[in-house]
Each structure stands twice: as C-alpha cells, then as structure tokens.
C-alpha cells in the first residue's frame, strides 16, 4: 500500500480543476504539446525534403513558398526547424532520463543511509558542480568526439547531481514523518520504505525538476551544436542552424531569427509548464515564486 500524504484532501478531479485554472500551466502545456506534435509530424510530413539541396533556391527571404526562407544550400528553414525539434527533444529527454535514472537512486540512498555514504555523495556532487556544465560538456565531446550521442552523455552527466540533490533533500524531509515510523514498526526495510513510501512522495518534486532540466537540456544541446559539438550535419539541429547563420547575418538574417525563436518558444513552454505544476501541487510555492 502506498500513502500519499502530500495530497490528503485532494482528488484527481480537484487537481485537474486547479490545473485548468492555472494560466502558466495551461500556456506551458499547450506550447509543449505543440512542439511535440510538430516533431512527430516531421516524421511523416515536412513542407520540403530537408536532405535535398536546391542551390538555385539558396538564401531566399521568407515567402509564401518558403514561410521561414531558405538556407545557404536552398533547404527550407521551416522544414529544418521541424526536423530539428526531434533532435532537441530526443537529446534533452534522454539526458533527463540519465540524470533521473542514476541521480534519484543515489540521492535516495544518501538520504536513507546518511553518515559517511551521504557525506561522500555530497562531496562528489560538489566536485561535479565545480565544473561549469558547458566546460565539462566541451571536455567530454573533446574526448569522445562530437555527435548527438556524446552530447546526450555530456548533458546527462550533469543532470545526475541535480536529481541526486533534489531526491536527497526531498527524502530527508519525508524520513522523520510518522507514517515512515509506522512502516518501520511494521517491519519494512529501508529499500522497501524508499520504494513504497519515499519515492511516491517526492515524485512531484522530481517532475518539476524534470521539466526544468528538460528546458535546460534543450538550451545546452543548442549551445553544443552551435559550437559544432552536437548533432552533425546533415542532421538538422537548431544550434547548428544558428552557427550556419552567424556568418550570413547581413544577407540572410532569417536563417538566425527563426531557429532561435523555436528554441525560445520551446524552453519558455517547458518553464511555464514546470512553474505551473509546482504551483498546482504545492500551494506554498504560489506565494514564493
């Protein structure tokens, strides 16, 4: 049996009613779903083929034929943004998965065991935090070479301590509660208590942090691709498109404007969604935010 003490008086219908009354959550959800839908759509349909180079159409300004213009190889920017969304979402999602998959168990163990295990883990966290994330990502891609997979690893590694910290802090707040004492009295072990009682109670915390890290992952992926360490051509990626645009700012500014706006809108949507979830599930945060 699982106890959900954080939401004792709340029914699913109540939470849903609150969710749809929350502006930040609604806008964030709509934007996020839209971006995901565009990425999925790109698997079956894009206005133009992004792998075909049409030099005759190069660097055309936005028009009815090409809404967002074309790049220096005559590729349709809108189509490239649609396909690039796949890459951004995939990299950020897997990186969050890595961070959660490794970080949460580590944080939970640190909270459950305490003492020297906890101390050692926190010092390791300090160590990872001492490396500015971008710098380490550059180092990792310098070792293993550039590419989407290595970008995922680089971003994923820096999600681990974040989730470890959140899980630890959340778990430490739950451990002294009475229902944990009851579970211990009932003869449950540390692992069982962690899985059955601690994790369900910190799930919302992790969800909120997950959306934040997702948004940061998209920014980080764009940064890495921009300096040439992320997804490699011909795979379109938003950061790479900005890099190609940089030297053509005078002649083809649309090459920079639209991919950048795609990044901003996606990150904005995820941040709003995260803020919204935090608001709905934790009434205190409404005041604090």
């Amino acid at each position: 049996m699982t106890l959900r003490v954080d939401l004792p008086e709340e029914t699913l219908a109540g939470v849903l009613a609150k969710a749809f009354g929350n502006r930040s959550f609604l806008i964030g959800l709509i934007i996020t779903l839209l971006v995901v839908a565009v990425a999925l759509l790109s698997f079956v349909w894009t206005p133009y083929d992004v792998t075909r180079l049409v030099i005759a159409d190069k660097t055309q300004a936005p028009s009815w034929a090409h809404w967002f213009g074309t790049d220096h190889f005559g590729r349709d920017i809108l189509s490239m943004i649609m396909v690039g969304a796949r890459n951004s979402i995939a990299v950020a999602l897997v990186a969050v998965g890595i961070g959660m998959g490794i970080g949460v168990p580590l944080g939970a163990v640190a909270a459950a065991r305490g003492g020297i295990v906890d101390e050692a883990l926190m010092r390791l966290n300090d160590l990872v935090f001492a490396f500015p994330a971008l710098l380490s990502a550059i180092m990792i891609t310098a070792i293993f070479g550039p590419g989407a997979v290595n970008a995922i690893i680089a971003i994923g590694i820096f999600n681990i301590p974040v989730f470890a910290r959140v899980a630890r802090a959340g778990a430490l707040a739950i451990w002294p509660r009475e229902f944990i004492l009851a579970a211990r009295a009932a003869g449950k072990g540390m692992t069982q208590i962690t899985v059955e009682h601690i994790l369900p109670n910190i799930a919302t915390l992790l969800l909120v942090q997950g959306t934040i890290q997702f948004a940061l992952g998209i920014l980080a992926e764009a940064g890495l691709s921009y300096v040439g360490l992320g997804a490699q051509p011909p795979m379109p990626s938003w950061g790479r498109m900005l890099f190609d645009a940089q030297t053509r700012m005078v002649t083809a500014p649309w090459m920079a404007i639209f991919p950048g706006m795609a990044i901003v809108i996606t990150v904005l949507g995820l941040n709003l969604l995260g803020d919204g979830i935090a608001d709905i599930l934790d009434p205190k945060s409404r005041r604090r935010r």
């Binding site: 305490g114 010092r123 300090d126 160590l127 935090f129 001492a130 490396f131 500015p132 994330a133 971008l134 710098l135 550059i138 180092m139 310098a142 070792i143 820096f158 301590p161 974040v162 910290r165 959140v166 802090a169 430490l172 942090q209 934040i212 890290q213 948004a215 940061l216 920014l219 764009a222 940064g223 921009y226 300096v227 900005l242 645009a245 940089q246 700012m249 005078v250 500014p253 920079a256 404007i257 991919p259 950048g260 990044i263 901003v264 809108i265 990150v267 904005l268 941040n271 709003l272 803020d275 005041r287 604090r288 935010r289």
Partner: protein, 349 residues
C-alpha cells in the same frame, strides 16, 4: 562561526584536489602524443623518444601528476605544445579580455535585476508585476548566443553603433576597447538578469511577509524605506548565492560568447587548444576556471555570515549536529532556506 568557515575551506580544498585529479585523468585518456605533435610528422621515432624523455612524458603517472599539480600551485601551468611558450603567458594575454567581460556582465545583470525584483515584489500580483515577470520568464528562455546574434544584427549591422566583433586591445584606448565588449556583455547579462530578477522578487516577497516588516511599518516608517532598507537587506542571501553562481556561469558563458564576437579571450583559446590537441593549455584553463568557481562559492559561503549575523552562531553541521532544544527555529529555517535556494539554483546552471 570559525568551525563553519573552517569546514567550508577544507571542503573547497578537497574539491580542488579531486578536480585536478579528474582533469589530469581526462587529459591522459585523450589520444595524441604531445612530443609527436611538437616535432611534426617527419620526425623519427628516436627524436620523438628523446623529446618525450625531456618533457618527462615517460615518467610514472603519479610522478607526472604530482609534477603538474605542484606546478599549478606556483601558477606554472607548463609550456604550450604548439606555441612553445609558458601556458601562463597565453592565459595572461587572454584573461584581460575574459575577466573584464565577465565582470561587466555581472555588474550589468545586478544593476538590472535588483530594481526589477524590488519593483515586482512591491507590486505583487498587479499588472506591472505580471508584465515584468512575463518578460523575465521570456529572458530565462533565451539562449545567450542567439541573443548575441540578434544584438549584432540590430546594433552592428542595422544601426552601425558598435563593431560586430573583434577586439582592438586595451592599448587602443579604454573607450574603444570597452565599446567592443559592450554587446557581448549585454548578451551575457540580460538572460542572467532575468534569473536574478526572479530570485530577488521571490526572496523579497518572502521577507515582506515577516513580522518585523509589519513592525517597521507600524512604527511609522514609510513603505519605501522599509522596502529598500529592511527588506532588501534581508533578501540578500538568496540573491548573493545566485550572484556567486552566476559569476562562475558567466566565466564559462564567455566561452561561447567570445566565439560569437571573435574576442581573443580564454574561450577562444580553449577551443583553439582543443582543435590543435594542445592538451596542456586545455588542462591549465579548465583548472583555472574550476578554481575560480570553487573560490567564488567559498566567498559566497563567507558572505552569508557577513550579511546575516544569525548564521555566525551556527556550527558546521546544521542538519545533524544541532542539539534540538537549543536551536532557535528561525536560524534553522534561514539555513534551510539558503541551502534550498542554492541547490535549486545549482540545478539551473
């Protein structure tokens, strides 16, 4: 307080040592023989071997680490493989671009963020607050290198007010040099200001709900005075935390921004060094930045004690080491709050 500071210092030193081991190990894994790199492709195996001996590359791993780490302590980062000059000279040349850039960006973001936070907090829930926080929400989502490109388009291509890139050097006159750092600094500062402004607002709102604020108002102090003098000072802890973290972030952020503006700073140097496999330069810069981050975090820890006198009474281990009967709830809450903000903001890095 001494115990608290001592613990922070020991942890900082330990982190630094561990970081140096990690950096050294990473560079050992990387492919490429520096001796071969220096001599070129035509060198014979014997020549390479002689140089390897000269450079100490054949010594045992532990000895090489100790030699390298020992050098770091006296700011001796070794010699660049490609330029054959001491790494510290290269760094010295470049840091006069990166450090001023980061400092200007930090100052800019503080100057923008604090008034925004105060404005928003004092109008909580009203139209002005919603508008400003909406803009901040947008600012957080903007990648600084894209923002930089837009700034270049607007101010350098369209309006021709500032150069689009490059750095004339400080010898060209302070104003000329500053002008070419202006756009990069704004590009770095605005997204950071958005984060800092949000932190300042939430910290202020929390403080404004405290009893002593009501007391100050009740004794007849004007709202303005209470806001700026009493509330702001008490809201400084989370703000300082973020500020410290941002400086580290800005130092790293200059890596990308310098590439956008073709500024000859540390960021450009590290990219060149990576492509040229000049590993000892990479090692040196990474260690320098890591040391800067650790030092700044240490200073932030110290500054808590200065800003908030309540914290001075706290021994190192707050969570477990406090006899529960003695600890005033307020102190524990304050510590918890600043640890929370610190963790949350670290997540944001």
């Amino acid at each position: 307080m001494t115990a608290y500071l001592l613990k922070r210092i020991i942890i900082a030193a330990l982190t630094l040592v561990l970081a140096s081991i990690v950096v050294f190990a990473v560079m050992e894994i990387l492919p490429g023989d520096p001796a071969r790199l220096m001599l070129g492709l035509n060198a014979s195996a014997d020549q390479v071997e002689v140089l390897r001996n000269q450079m100490g590359l054949n010594a045992p791993l532990v000895l090489r680490y100790l030699h390298w780490a020992g050098g770091l302590l006296s700011l001796d980062f070794g010699r660049s493989y490609t330029y054959s000059v001491p790494v510290i000279d290269l760094v010295r040349e470049r840091i006069v671009v990166s450090l001023p850039l980061a400092l200007i960006a930090l100052a800019l973001s503080t100057i923008i963020a604090i008034p925004i936070g105060v404005f928003s907090a004092s109008r909580q829930g009203r139209a002005g607050d919603t508008l400003v926080m909406g803009a901040a929400q947008l600012g957080v989502a903007v990648p600084n290198f894209w923002f930089a490109l837009m700034l270049i388009y607007l101010f350098a291509v369209w309006l021709r007010l500032v150069p689009a890139g490059g750095f004339p050097g400080w010898s060209a006159g302070i104003w000329t040099a500053l002008k070419s750092l202006l756009l990069p600094a704004v590009a770095l500062a605005l997204p950071q200001a958005a984060i800092l402004g949000r932190v300042a607002r939430s910290a202020l709102i929390e403080v404004l709900n405290e009893d002593y604020i009501r007391t100050a108002r009740a004794k007849g102090l004007p709202y303005r005075a209470v806001l700026w003098r009493h509330a702001l000072r008490n809201a400084m802890i989370p703000v300082l935390t973020i500020l410290g973290l941002q400086f580290a972030f800005l130092l790293a952020g200059t890596i990308i921004i310098e590439n956008v503006f073709y500024l000859p700073g540390l960021g450009r140097l590290i990219f060149q060094a990576i492509t040229q496999r000049d590993l000892i330069v990479v090692e040196g810069i990474v260690m320098l930045l890591v040391a800067a981050v650790i030092l700044i975090n240490l200073l932030v820890d110290f500054s808590y004690a200065i800003v908030d006198p309540r914290l001075r009474a706290i021994p190192g281990k707050v969570r477990s080491g406090f006899p529960s009967g003695i600890a005033p709830k307020q102190i524990l809450r304050a510590v918890q709050r600043f640890r929370e903000t610190r963790n949350r903001s670290r997540g944001r890095q």
